[in-house]
């Protein structure tokens, strides 16, 4: 009798199969930058940008806290790592190569728009490269943090990730001041540069590459990956872990492996979001970016969205971004308002806005049940 182990299909290959959605993503991103951006005022444009970054954070955390039912509390830690890594890459590379740290992007980057510039430049290439490296560094840390804690049951992940965010914050605080002259930068070795990211004063001088194109490209790619993850065989494996971990193992799901994968993918996108954040005009990247409050923002979005609904997370990201704008006068009470909002949700919608379902699932469901109660009067009456 043979004991051949059937191969488990590759997770990553199933995420990048089929390029059409990615083409659409680029199209959407170009429209955001070239059509939408010039036609709205700077303030709503900045809100659109914040919404986009929060969408990436919320949707990526949904993969962990929603799909697999683990509870990560350190998403901001991964975001900060990605932000610092990509910021250091663009800033110090620019200083070395061009002698100055400013952005050298084309039409598709930045928030100011440029007349007569090429669409993409070498600077944009550098930015894209730095975003991906930031994501990879965050994902690598995600693996180091996730592997040991996801093997253990229960709330270890929550505790470990909470600690992780704080460690990132404290480590960044210990770094040295940013090197501001081209001369100093040229003299420093490659290994010294990452230690000069500003300490508790923050990392200023990062070039402003981030614009609606890059942010919405990131949003679309995150959404594509999240949907593919949810609707694939893996998606069923993720949701089975959340439903009943022991039964999932009994079906042959390597639960540790899938939990780690979800965690690493989520950390990657958090790192990308961090890179987008750190290259934004008017953002001062500081160690507080890794702090618990920021992680909590994202958790709120995911819980509000329904712990597993992608469209719910997007809706919640929009609401949570806009809420402080509507409640300007009471901004200091944000945490209290959050707490109240959470309590109200727990009471009135214990499964969040959408549960694990998507907006359209719910719509179809409501429509179907309306028809059913129309034909079967007894069933309708009983409800």
């Amino acid at each position: 009798m043979s004991h051949e182990t059937p191969p488990t299909p590759g997770l990553v290959s199933s995420l990048v199969r089929g390029y059409m959605p990615f083409v659409v993503a680029v199209g959407v991103a170009i429209v955001m930058q070239v059509v939408v951006r010039p036609n709205v005022d700077p303030y709503p444009a900045k809100l659109l940008l914040d919404i986009g970054i929060n969408c990436i954070l919320a949707v990526s955390l949904t993969m962990v806290n929603g799909f697999t039912g683990q509870f990560s509390m350190g998403h901001a830690g991964f975001m900060a790592v990605g932000g610092y890594a990509s910021g250091a890459i663009t800033y110090y590379t620019s200083m070395r190569v061009w002698g100055a740290g400013e952005a050298r992007g084309g039409v598709l980057s930045g928030m100011l728009g440029g007349e007569g510039l090429p669409w993409l430049t070498v600077g944009d290439g550098l930015f894209l490269f730095s975003l991906i490296v930031g994501g990879v560094v965050a994902a690598g840390l995600g693996y180091l943090v996730g592997l040991p804690s996801l093997r253990l049951k229960g709330d270890y992940l929550a505790i470990v990730t909470l600690g992780f965010g704080e460690i990132v914050r404290v480590v960044i605080q210990q770094t040295s001041p940013v090197l501001t002259s081209a001369e100093e930068v040229r003299q420093a070795t490659i290994l010294q540069l990452p230690t000069h990211v500003g300490g508790s004063l923050g990392f200023s001088g990062i070039p402003y590459y981030t614009g609606l194109f890059w942010v919405y490209l990131g949003v679309c790619v995150t959404l594509i990956v999240a949907f593919r993850l949810k609707t694939s065989t893996f998606g069923r494996a993720f949701l089975s872990i959340r439903n009943d971990e022991i039964a999932a193992e009994a079906m042959g799901v390597n639960t540790t492996r899938y939990k780690v994968w979800a965690f690493v993918i989520a950390a990657f996108f958090a790192g990308i979001a961090g890179g987008l954040f750190s290259h934004t005009l008017g953002v001062g990247l500081s160690p507080e970016a890794a702090g618990f409050l920021r992680s909590f923002d994202v958790i709120i979005m995911v819980v509000l969205g329904g712990l597993g609904s992608i469209s719910g997370a997007v809706a919640a990201a929009i609401i949570v971004t806009l809420l402080p704008e509507w409640l300007r006068g009471v901004a200091e009470y944000r945490m209290i308002i959050y707490a109240l909002a959470l309590i109200l949700i727990m009471i009135f919608r214990p499964k969040g806005l959408f549960g694990v379902r998507e907006v359209w699932d719910r719509a179809t469901w409501a429509w179907l049940s309306r028809r059913k109660s129309g034909t079967g009067a007894r069933g309708g009456a009983r409800e």
Partner: protein, 235 residues
């Protein structure tokens, strides 16, 4: 096919099994009966890798599996229907069945086994799109067994399939257990319902507080005075 020797399992300071040995030959239905808390579920959990034995050996088709993870053991051809069924309550019946085939990529074989499970349990066919959490207890047990069939096991571990079910449903389920066995699947059946279990099984073991107290052909045990007194309620 399955050979357990001197199996010792502890939960922290509590020792649940004190050296259990048993064997299951290919094609058999073997039942393990015993009172509540005797260690029946623990034995199955150790075999399928859900708890790690403190000592002892477990061999499945000649290979030692005592240190393997559950998801690895499924791939070797063993399925475990846990006590309490462990269905995915938030998923539909269909999604539950598809997860049964998680480790397989032979589309035709999966389709055939899917059809087989629905033929064994016609009730599931009517409820494919229903959320599994809304099934009755008997239907959930059917789903758990059907889902296990989709892993295409050569050895099927069943933990108290009769638990909490009406006598009529229990009879149906035991009839189907017999059919599954007749179609070539070896079965290790854990039961408190000794009466039914001894009827379908070829051989039986009696487990008492972590130790095997008796073993033999099921018919012999069913006729023995000790078993009749202790487990069949005959004075």
């Amino acid at each position: 096919m399955l050979e357990i020797r001197d199996l010792v399992v502890s939960y922290g300071a509590v020792r649940a099994l004190h050296g259990v040995s048993l064997r299951v030959e290919r094609g058999e239905i073997v039942t393990l009966i015993g009172c509540n808390g005797a260690g029946k579920s623990t034995t199955l959990r150790a075999v399928s890798g859900m708890v790690r034995p403190a000592s002892g050996t477990i061999e499945f088709e000649g290979r030692s599996i005592a240190r393997m993870k559950p998801h690895e053991i499924v791939r070797l051809g063993m399925a475990h229907c846990p006590e309490g069924r462990g269905i995915f309550a938030n998923m539909t019946v269909e999604e539950n069945l598809r997860l049964g085939a998680f480790t397989r990529d032979d589309a035709e074989g999966i389709a055939a086994d899917h059809e087989r499970a629905l033929t064994l349990f016609p009730r599931l066919r009517e409820r494919l799109r229903q959320s599994a959490g809304t099934l009755s207890g008997g239907e959930q047990q059917m789903l758990a067994i059907g889902r296990a069939i989709l892993t295409r096991p050569r050895l099927l571990l069943l933990d108290e399939p009769s638990l909490g079910l009406a006598p009529q449903v229990v009879r149906t389920i035991f009839q189907i257990i017999r059919e599954i066995n007749a179609a070539g699947t070896t079965i290790l059946l854990v039961e408190q319902n000794a009466h039914m279990a001894l009827k379908v099984a070829h051989r039986a073991y009696v487990l008492e507080v972590g130790k095997i107290e008796m073993e033999g052909p099921a018919a012999d045990l069913a006729a023995s005075d000790e078993v009749r007194k202790a487990y069949l309620g005959v004075a």
